[in-house]
């Protein structure tokens, strides 16, 4: 099947408006007879469910947690971008569009990104109307801060809990519709497969996680909003339950999977402490506004720190290497995430890492304390303030900005980050790749949509900070409600979709068979055992730096782990009860397939772009020596993979990317 992105004609600035003016609408009386299933209720799914219900559709929403408010969107800390230009620093829709395409290393679809920038301002208006308590200045107006990869301040925030507050906003909008009966909410339910009738998505099979009951749900359209697949690495900043099952199941039923190798390794996470580690914790990128990143400049100092003989505060200023400021003077500590992560890895690989494992760098706030402290001393008219007083005043400001992050750090590491620099190290955080969708956010299966992190569309090969929340809400509040209406306008005469059909019978049987297999398999090893092994292969060979040899090996190793998994996995308990191991088994089975396709995609793409760094493709000389080298001649396309049984047999379809409004050039943050 040839990929058709369905991008409307016309100048980029007019595409979305013209599109909205010309689509088919469903009249309010007919909307009452149309059902929509939304799987996943984070920012994208929650906002979509609420908006679709407000419009009058009957929505069934599914979440594996006990409340939509607990989706992992809640963990996003730093903020949400919008091209409001409240700061008057030259921001505009075009600039947000440009920054996003450039930040994504020219591997995203221009028309989608422009639309994203275009609706970004509306998101802030909507959230404020809902009562989201964004940070404000003393004049009562909204405050902004800056994030990596951009030269303006366009990030709106609610302390270090922006994702939480936005999700609570979407959740409150959902609650209003649940109370009206327009959303039927299925908490503690997991979608286990999609049902197609005559080639169109018409329902899902879900498991009630409390009773184990297998349920059939039908609808005129199905929306997948289940987030990313970062947990393929086992250790990531994702929630423990975050999984790719819904996305992978629809892939196996005909939805192409795009750019799986585009994964974001976030530079500022709390380093790993031991083998028992279950997850990694993110420290918001916003900290890079005020923190300076460094490692010792001398190898002997680094060694002494690793052995616990020296403390970071013992290292003199001239013996510190602020390597981001050194390598990238224009952007300094605010280079994009992929660049910052690789730079940290480079220093640690060279032996300059700073904790016991040698895998950490410092994020130091000492100079920010002084800078803010002096400012405060002036504001409050304190003359001849001592260094200690200045530091204290400055710490107060940092606390008001990032207090919860500092507290979180102290609880995990048991060190006070106001007194000693934080230790950070990169960790898997976000997946830019995902289910392929067209301009309408529809997958290659008719009537099956994919929104938020679960799709691939807007971030190219690298996502800029504070853009995930923007995309999730843009898709859910402002894009999908239009595009899905255009599709559903053809369904007004269809009537209720029956679940008593052979299509539902067949898919339910597949689901039941798999559950029975897990329960009856007399294996010897736990699900986590396999998940950890998969994660290690992914991190070692498909991690921050990749090469053909490692990737080929990774594919073979993942396949071998998968085969062993199906022989040896052990799941205690029964199918007809709450069974956490059974839930995990299904998810890890899917990760074991996705991981192999991930490696295959990384092998196929022999260029370095964004979060995907191929050692074979670097600049050999000039100012950019050693930096990633993109290859636009051969790889300016989206890889969309079609499922053919084994992941290794997946067939590649290319969506060529055209850049009409932005000139392709090498990203330079120097």
């Amino acid at each position: 099947m040839a990929l058709d992105s369905k991008v409307p004609e016309g100048p980029i600035k007019d595409k979305w408006t013209t599109y909205k003016d010309n689509i088919n609408l469903v009249n309010p009386a007919n909307k009452r007879h149309i059902d929509i299933i939304v799987v996943g209720t984070g920012l994208a799914g929650g906002s979509a469910a609420a908006t679709l219900a407000e419009l009058g559709y009957n929505v069934k929403a599914f979440a594996y947690q006990d409340s939509p408010r607990r989706a992992h969107s809640i963990a996003a800390q730093g903020g949400i971008n919008a091209a409001k230009n409240y700061m008057g620093d030259g921001d505009s829709n075009y600039r947000l569009f440009y920054d996003t395409v450039k930040g994504g290393d020219y591997r995203s679809r221009e028309a989608n990104v422009y639309r994203l920038a275009e609706v970004s301002g509306n998101i802030i208006d909507q959230c404020v109307a809902q009562g989201v308590p964004f940070a404000r200045d003393y004049g009562g107006l909204l405050d902004n801060r800056s994030f990596g990869g951009v030269l303006v301040s366009r990030t709106f925030y609610a302390k270090g809990q922006t994702g939480q507050q936005l999700l609570l906003g979407a959740y409150s909008a959902m609650n209003r519709q649940i109370a009206r009966g327009k959303i039927e909410m299925f908490n503690r339910h997991e979608m286990l497969d999609v049902v197609k009738v005559d080639g169109k998505a018409r329902g899902i099979i879900a498991r009630n996680l409390i009773t184990g009951e297998i349920e059939r749900h039908s609808a005129h359209a199905v929306v997948i909003a289940t987030g990313g697949y970062g947990n393929v690495y086992f250790l990531s900043t994702n929630a423990m339950g975050s999984n790719a099952t819904a996305a992978w199941k629809i892939h196996k039923k005909g939805a192409y999977f795009a750019n799986p190798c585009f994964t974001q390794i976030h530079p500022t996470c709390i380093p790993r402490s031991g083998d028992y580690q279950s997850k990694l914790t993110l420290m918001s990128e916003s900290l890079r506004n005020d923190g300076r990143i460094w490692v010792p400049a001398k190898l002997e100092d680094a060694k002494a720190i690793q052995q616990g003989k020296l403390k970071p505060t013992d290292i003199a200023e001239e013996d510190r290497d602020y390597y981001l400021e050194r390598r990238y003077p224009a952007f300094g500590n605010l280079v994009p995430r992929d660049v910052a992560s690789r730079a940290a890895k480079e220093r640690c690989d060279a032996g300059y890492g700073v904790n016991g494992t040698g895998e950490a760098v410092y994020l130091d706030f000492a100079s920010a304390f002084v800078r803010y402290g002096k400012e405060q001393a002036k504001i409050h008219g304190i003359k001849n303030a001592s260094d200690a007083e200045i530091k204290k005043l400055g710490q107060g400001i940092i606390e008001s900005k990032y207090g919860n992050l500092f507290q979180m750090y102290e609880k995990i590491i048991a060190e006070n980050p106001y007194e000693t620099p934080m230790m950070i190290y990169p960790a898997t955080h976000y997946t830019m790749g995902g289910v392929w969708v067209d301009y309408n956010l529809m997958t290659t299966v008719e009537g099956l949509y994919c929104i938020g992190e679960a799709n691939f569309s807007d971030h190219g090969a690298n996502r800029l900070g504070a853009s995930a929340l923007m995309q999730g809400l843009a898709d859910g509040y402002f894009v999908l409600p239009y595009t899905i209406g255009d599709y559903l306008s053809n369904d007004i005469r269809t009537g209720k979709i029956s679940t008593e059909t052979k299509e539902f019978d067949e898919v339910e049987k597949e689901v039941r068979d798999r559950i029975e297999f897990f329960i009856n398999n007399e294996g010897t090893k736990s699900v986590d055992h396999f998940h950890k092994r998969l994660g290690k292969v992914m991190w070692d060979k498909v991690g921050m730096s990749r090469n053909a040899k490692d990737l080929t090996e990774a594919m073979a190793e993942i396949k071998a782990i998968r085969e062993e998994f199906w022989k040896e996995v052990k799941v205690p308990g029964t199918a007809n009860e709450m069974n956490v191991e059974l839930e995990k088994a299904g998810r890890v089975a899917d990760f074991l397939e996705l991981g192999e396709l991930f490696a295959k995609d990384a092998l196929e793409r022999n260029e370095s772009c964004g979060g995907h760094f191929r050692e074979e493709s670097v600049e050999l000389d000039g100012e950019q020596k050693g930096e990633a080298k993109r290859n636009d001649k051969d790889y300016a396309f989206v890889s969309a993979w079609e499922y053919k049984g084994e992941p290794a047999d997946a067939v590649l379809h290319k969506e060529e990317l055209e850049f009409k409004d932005i000139e392709l050039k090498q990203r330079s943050y120097k």
């Binding site: 407000e54 947690q65 006990d66 409340s67 607990r70 992992h72 809640i74 963990a75 409001k84 609706v119 509306n122 802030i124 208006d125 909507q126 109307a129 809902q130 009562g131 308590p133 964004f134 940070a135 404000r136 004049g139 107006l141 909204l142 302390k159 809990q161 939480q164 507050q165 609570l168 409150s172 909008a173 609650n175 209003r176 649940i178 109370a179 908490n187 929630a239 423990m240 339950g241 031991g274 028992y276 580690q277 997850k279 914790t281 993110l282 507290q407 979180m408 609880k411 995990i412 048991a414 509040y477 402002f478 736990s526 052990k570 205690p572 308990g573 009860e577 709450m578 956490v580 191991e581």
Partner: protein, 248 residues
Amino acid sequence: MDLTLKIWRQKDSQDKGQMVDYKVTDISEHMSFLEMMDVLNEQLVNTGEEPVAFDHDCREGICGMCSLYINGEAHGPDRGITTCQLHMRMFNDGDTITIEPWRAAAFPVIKDLIVDRMAFERIQQAGGYISVNTSGNTQDANSLPISKHAADEAMDAATCIGCGACVASCKNSSAMLFVGAKVSQYALLPQGQVEAADRVKNMVAQMDLEGFGNCTNTGACEVECPKGISLENIARMNREFMSANIKG
């Protein structure tokens, strides 16, 4: 360190349930409490026993899923944190640790340490929102200045993660800190004032219907709240509730 764990096991909501003893060994002080539980569960799976079911998800203190009552305290002995942020350095070698689910009539046990918190959902559905549709032509966000003080206070109330520790800690199983935080967030902001009276009345009515107890000002909820939600929120809710009823 080596530990003895006394854990509440209950097969399902119908089962009577009981405390069961387990041993874990070689626990590192750097582990989180839930990582220690992972070690126990891996041990149980390997011996063919059913692992202990407990709620958890983000493991960074923000989703509000985790909900363990440890040694008689919601979220354990440390302050200002959730169970997932509790670290084993708070315990000593040889300790016996008692782990129970939230105990409240309005939070029935689903399995082992997992409780049903749907009562919180229904309270919020009763009025915890501002009635505004998504239209794309809402007024510009900066056309409504809000004093920094009010915005910050609303934010403090809004940080509630809905974990239920307040209910579990209260001798009356009162949900007033939770409902107070929700009511306060909206009461402090100018948006949604037109429906403020209905909101507080409906939310309080639903809270009573769910079987939560009343507040007797012991302040245990505030002490155990992982997000530091203050008792002021209860006072504010009472004020809102009273004025809503006086106005009729």
